[in-house]
């Protein structure tokens, strides 16, 4: 049996009268890539912010990596990584400084930081530009770096909020290679996107419409159920029928 790492039961998040997340229930298994799809404003980011402990749920039971989202928020935070929609690195710090900073606030030792930083910089082939400010890097590189920094402290789960927005197709492909690599090592990846081709890379996807989960299955099953050639069609059919 697959091991559950995220359990969400009846999660609701309201902003006044507006219901951003309406009674969501789902499980995420350890090591899988879980895609969270939906149109803009469907409530993807809100749900993710609740799961990360950035936002308090209005109601519902949520367990992340074995910790309760209400009472053990700080414990959750040491076990997750997060890459936000907005830019998550400091543009006025160099690549080196950004990595060291995030390593430091996750309580890695100086030795660990140094060793892991060298590995990371070599892997991303950033040796020539490591002393440059992050703002001087092209967007695609920054996103790859931001992902690497988000998992630098080896969390159990990483939350990626539209990580490839505005990135060219080749870099996007490389980005997903990185995700696969980490997923193979056992990292659970929770990713929101509105690129439907990316949805096909996920192990399972949930499609949100107006704050509710309209469908949740593997991409192949979804395509069969909705008699569609690709995820694009699945998405359009679901959004149209609901």
């Amino acid at each position: 049996m697959k091991e559950t790492i995220i359990t969400v039961r009846n999660l609701s998040k309201k902003f006044g009268d507006f219901i951003a997340n309406d009674d969501l229930s789902f499980d995420v298994y350890k090591g899988e890539i879980f895609g969270f799809l939906g149109a803009n404003g469907a409530g993807k980011t809100t749900a993710m912010r609740v799961l990360c402990g950035l936002s308090k749920p209005t109601s519902g039971d949520i367990n992340i990596a074995g910790f309760d989202v209400y009472s053990q928020t700080e414990l959750i935070k040491t076990n997750i990584g997060y890459m936000s929609q907005k830019f998550s690195l400091y543009e006025d710090l160099t690549i080196d400084e950004n990595i060291s900073f995030y390593g430091g606030i996750y309580k890695l030792s100086n030795k660990e930081i140094k060793e892991k930083k060298e590995l990371l910089i070599n892997k991303l082939q950033l040796n020539a530009v490591r002393k440059k400010l992050v703002r001087e890097l092209p967007l695609g590189w920054r996103q790859k770096l931001a992902f690497s920094v988000a998992i630098f402290h080896e969390p159990k789960i990483v939350f990626l909020d539209e990580p490839t927005g505005g990135v060219d197709p080749i870099t996007r492909r490389q980005f997903w290679d990185m995700i696969y690599e980490e997923s193979d090592k056992g990292l659970t990846v929770f990713v929101t996107t509105h690129y439907m081709d990316e949805a096909e890379y996920c192990n399972r996807v949930s499609i949100m419409v107006d704050g509710k989960i309209a469908a949740l299955d593997t991409p192949v099953n979804l395509m069969q159920t909705y008699n569609a050639k690709n995820m694009d069609e699945v998405f359009l059919k679901i959004v149209r029928f609901s």
């Binding site: 990360c52 402990g53 950035l54 936002s55 308090k56 928020t73 700080e74 935070k77 040491t78 997750i80 990584g81 997060y82 936000s84 929609q85 907005k86 830019f87 998550s88 690195l89 400091y90 543009e91 006025d92 710090l93 400084e97 060291s100 900073f101 995030y102 430091g104 606030i105 996750y106 309580k107 400010l133």
Partner: protein
């Protein structure tokens, strides 16, 4: 602790990488001190006075010579007609009129009282007050001289002389140098401005860029974050004070009678108040623009009601109560006491305690308001 060090390193790197930061740190104190200290002065160097001497006695001449001998006065005209003098005042050619009536000396000797009239143009209330104060000083001085002169001729009760012997020596600022008075106040403004603006903009900046989210998903504790954010600004604030003092000494030769360590001790407490307020503003707003606007509003009130430009004693009662809640006013008072008077810790104990209370409450507000979750 290590987390705080990492935060501090990041903040220092960011502050000094910001290209507008270094000029700000060095130019603001120089410009503020040079402009404000020289311009915002209440010193009366040349009070223009019209003298109507209808007595033409040795007493009246003696009084007039006292006035003309003072560096503060410039006698624009003398005459016998009150109307002429008022005309001059209407035309703005004179600031004050001293009217000596015909029987001045006679009354002075016969009845032991003489009356003179002083008319002051009070369009500018502050300077009118000063003219009145200066002139009174001179007249009192004149009074004293008469009594002493009289006592040489007539046997006057010695105790009477003693009781009337008003001694005008201007302590703590013997040359009545207004700059000496202004520099410490302007230094307070400087420290406040830098501390408040930097702290109110800092957290908000991370909100705008979006990096605050990234910080909030980490296990950083609130207090670690706040210390990491404010400590560098605290250091910059103290450095500004040191730099400003050096300039004050070099350019204006301000006295430093009291203990500098004590001054920096109080300044470090005061900065906690300022940074707490800035941080609090920062947690209330979403953009740097909003932060700027609120800072501007608060600083304006705090500065104008600090007793630097207008004296607190001359404010209405209700305003004086507001001043009691103005930390700038306390620090201005303390810095003047230390620099000019050489006050020790015991003399400013009460004000220090008030600053500490301000600091604790502002910091608590900021920490309570700052939330990692929404």
């Amino acid at each position: 602790m290590r987390i705080i060090l990492f935060l501090l390193r990041k903040e220092f790197l960011q502050v000094f990488r910001n290209k507008s930061m270094l000029p700000l740190i060095f130019m603001v104190p120089i410009i503020q001190l040079i402009i404000l200290v020289n311009a915002a002065t209440f010193e009366m160097k040349s009070i223009r006075i019209f003298i109507i001497d209808n007595d033409m006695s040795s007493s009246s001449r003696s009084l007039i010579s006292k006035i003309s001998g003072s560096p503060f006065y410039k006698i624009v005209n003398t005459g016998f007609s009150y109307k002429q003098a008022m005309d001059e005042m209407h035309k703005g050619k004179t600031d004050a009129i001293l009217n000596i009536p015909p029987d001045f000396e006679k009354k002075l000797f016969k009845e032991n009282t003489g009356k003179i009239q002083l008319v002051i143009n009070a369009i500018n209330g502050t300077s009118a007050g000063l003219i009145s104060a200066y002139t009174n000083t001179i007249i009192n001085d004149f009074n004293r001289k008469i009594i002493i002169d009289a006592s040489q001729n007539i046997a006057v009760n010695a105790s009477l002389i003693k009781s009337l012997n008003i001694n005008y020596s201007f302590w703590y600022n013997p040359e009545l140098n207004y700059k000496t008075f202004m520099v410490p106040g302007v230094l307070v403004l400087l420290v406040t401005l830098i501390g408040f603006v930097l702290s109110s903009m800092n957290v908000v900046r991370e909100k705008e860029i979006g990096t605050i989210e990234q910080i909030n998903v980490t296990p950083i504790k609130k207090y670690q974050f706040i210390i990491g954010k404010l400590f560098p600004i605290w250091i910059i604030g103290l450095f500004e004070l040191a730099f400003g003092l050096a300039i004050g000494k070099l350019l204006f030769n301000i006295p430093m009678v009291g203990s500098l360590p004590l001054l920096f001790f109080v300044a470090s407490l005061y900065l906690i108040v300022v940074l707490g307020m800035g941080m609090f503003v920062s947690t209330l707003v979403e953009t740097q623009q909003q932060a700027m606007l609120i800072s501007f509003f608060l600083l304006m009130i705090f500065i104008l009601m600090s007793g630097l430009f207008t004296s607190i004693e001359s404010m209405p009662d209700w305003a004086q109560y507001i001043v009691k809640a103005n930390p700038i006013a306390y620090f201005i008072k303390i810095i003047r006491l230390i620099l000019l008077k050489g006050a020790g810790i015991m003399e400013i104990k009460k004000d220090i305690i008030i600053l500490v209370l301000f600091g604790i409450s502002m910091m608590s507000f900021a920490i309570i308001r700052y939330r990692k979750t929404s």
